[in-house]
């Protein structure tokens, strides 16, 4: 890794392993996953339910419920500090300060009996030595920054008085109040209507670029990825199966799972897609993590699978420059396309 790149890197996750101990056995929710995020960069993590994308995010902020979960290996380096080595107090000083998170459902992440302004003040005063008056002023400024109309009045209101889009804006204001180095957004627009989603995504990207925050965007929606991210990680059954720049991924996806995901999305309208045809489907379903097949976890659903896929897990290879895929047949696919 070059000097310039390391200097810019905000977060570096190496060989992260998070496991859950359950009645039906141990399962590896995140299995040997590595990635990094640079300043002002958006990294999207894509995958379906249970692929480990949310647990990866929770592992970064060390909020995996223990028990049943535990981080058993790897490192999470934020601005040069390995977060996995910090004690609880030091970790609390990082959360909401250097790393913030935005969740899917803003109503459940806001305190319903506390005014919006007070909730932001709480976050600010936890990490900065400022008077409550100064913190309130910062809170109002943050609400203005996320383009909430009449921020002075809105700061006095309770979450139920705000619409879904406004609540998510308030969450963003709170998350960015301490100017974190890294923002993790876990399905931030999934609960919102499509016109509001467009507004919120535009806002997150605009603020992130202005403030130089690194952004991890977790989503299942490839449309959202294409519109916002610079780099993409595709996860399947706890493992990273593909990583590429957004352009390269959409131009030549190199893992059959990524290809399947793209083909199974209904064609986007308005571009003259006239298909009345059936959608391409990925047969079967995501395997249970407690009972993974030997070899590649996607092999049972994969049209291209050969004997080797069912026996040996493929390494994550750099198939094209800056484009990695964990598939025995990725090379063939890269040549064919």
């Amino acid at each position: 890794m070059s000097e310039a790149k390391t200097a810019e890197t905000v977060l570096d996750v190496r060989n992260l392993q998070t496991v859950f101990f359950t009645n039906s056995g141990l399962f590896r929710a995140v299995d040997d996953v590595s990635f990094s995020v640079r300043r002002g960069e958006t990294l999207a993590i894509v995958g379906e339910s249970g692929c480990g994308k949310s647990v990866s995010a929770l592992s970064i902020v060390r909020l995996v419920p223990d028990p049943p979960g535990r981080i058993v290996g790897g490192s999470v380096t934020l601005e040069g500090t390995d977060l996995l080595k910090l004690d609880d107090a030091a970790m609390r000083a990082v959360r909401g300060n250097r790393i913030s998170m935005i969740f899917q459902e803003p109503m459940t992440s806001l305190n319903p009996v506390m005014r919006i302004g007070d909730q932001i003040v709480e976050a600010v005063r936890l990490h900065q030595k400022v008077s409550s008056k100064e913190a309130w002023k910062q809170a109002v400024d943050m609400l203005r920054l996320v383009r909430i109309p009449e921020p002075e009045r809105r700061a006095q209101e309770y979450p139920h008085q705000l619409s879904g889009g406004m609540r998510q804006r308030a969450m963003i204001a709170m998350a960015l109040a301490c100017r974190p180095a890294l923002l993790i957004a876990d399905e931030p627009t999934t609960a919102l209507d499509v016109t509001i989603q467009a507004q919120i995504l535009a806002l997150i990207v605009d603020l992130q670029q202005r403030l130089g925050t690194g952004l991890i965007l977790i989503t299942h929606d490839l449309g959202v990825v294409a519109q916002t991210a610079q780099r993409v990680i595709v996860m399947y059954a706890g493992k990273k199966v593909e990583e590429a720049t957004v352009e390269s991924l959409f131009e030549t996806p190199l893992h059959p799972y990524t290809r399947g995901l793209m083909a199974s999305m209904p064609a986007v309208i308005a571009l003259g897609a006239k298909s009345d045809a059936r959608l391409a489907e990925i047969p079967g379903m995501v395997p249970s993590l407690t009972n993974l097949p030997p070899g590649c976890a996607f092999a049972p659903r994969c049209k291209l699978a050969v004997d080797r896929c069912r026996q040996e897990y493929p390494p994550l290879d750099e198939v094209k420059p800056n484009h990695w895929a964990a598939c025995w047949r990725a090379g063939e696919m890269a040549e064919a396309s």
């Binding site: 209507d193 294409a226 209904p266 308005a270």
Partner: protein, 338 residues
Amino acid sequence: MTEHRPLLEVTDLVKHYAVRGGVLRRQVGTVHAVDGVSFSLGAGETLGLVGESGCGKSTVARTVLRLVEPTSGAIKLDGEDIAPLSKTALRPYRRSMQIVFQDPFASLNPRMTAGDIVGEPLSVHGIATGAKKQERVAELFQQVGLRPDQMKNFPHQFSGGQRQRICIARALSLGPRLIVCDEPVSALDVSIQAQVINLLIDLQRKQNFSYLFIAHDLAVVAHISHRVAVMYLGRIVEIADKHELFANPRHPYTQALLASVPIADPKARRIAPLIDGDVPSPINPPPGCAFHTRCRYAMDRCKTERPALQAAGTAHQVACWLNDGTGQAASYSTFVPA
């Protein structure tokens, strides 16, 4: 569209809810959930109903099935108005109308086996019992891509996609002519979504029933529907043949809605969202055209007079005052990759 009589004809459907407040629980307002909706649906046809939360699309679906009582309006099924019928008189019609809900976790009784769930409508309507019922249920299981040996399993033993298949089998059990699908795939993962959509399309081709298909995901609706109606605050603002609607959207709201869908192509990035603000409250919807508060083309007339749906091209109706009531021609720059 259809020369012959439509299967379902809805005229001026209205559903208002009273808002009560104060000590005496007096009516202090009215929620205009559905405010004069008319459409028809042919046999074997799929009409997609799209719109954002609170636009009344689900209320339309439930009112059509009389799961919610309409305030006024006519709902004709095969020419017979079912809106004024009593519960008993309605019963024979219920057989021909079924629904599939969004959440396959909440809509299945966790204490019944999958086989009993699918067979229950057969007993309720006295169609089949005993071995004959079991046989019919097994057949339904195969039709929706489940194995008959799964009949003895309970809902929790199935995945989300499989549960939605059980709901579909249950809806099919009475041989309905109309199936209302209320967000049937929104709770499912993308790869499973495709399986369920394909199943719905295949079943329709074989059995020729009609779908009233409600979803907020425009891509899904575009895929499955023949015609699409766009709703905003309790009214249909535009209705057209699918290809026509997506190629030439004429209502500014439809255009904004289409332009908000994130396109899965990094080369087609769009910068600015087309509309600001939130949907106004249906308790006091704006006068005139309900969309005028967010519309970039709004004129004085839009603020006072409500536009009615009128023809704008073949098989295309729009409720907008622009250009003599034909709406705004789409500016293609907003849709085509830059």
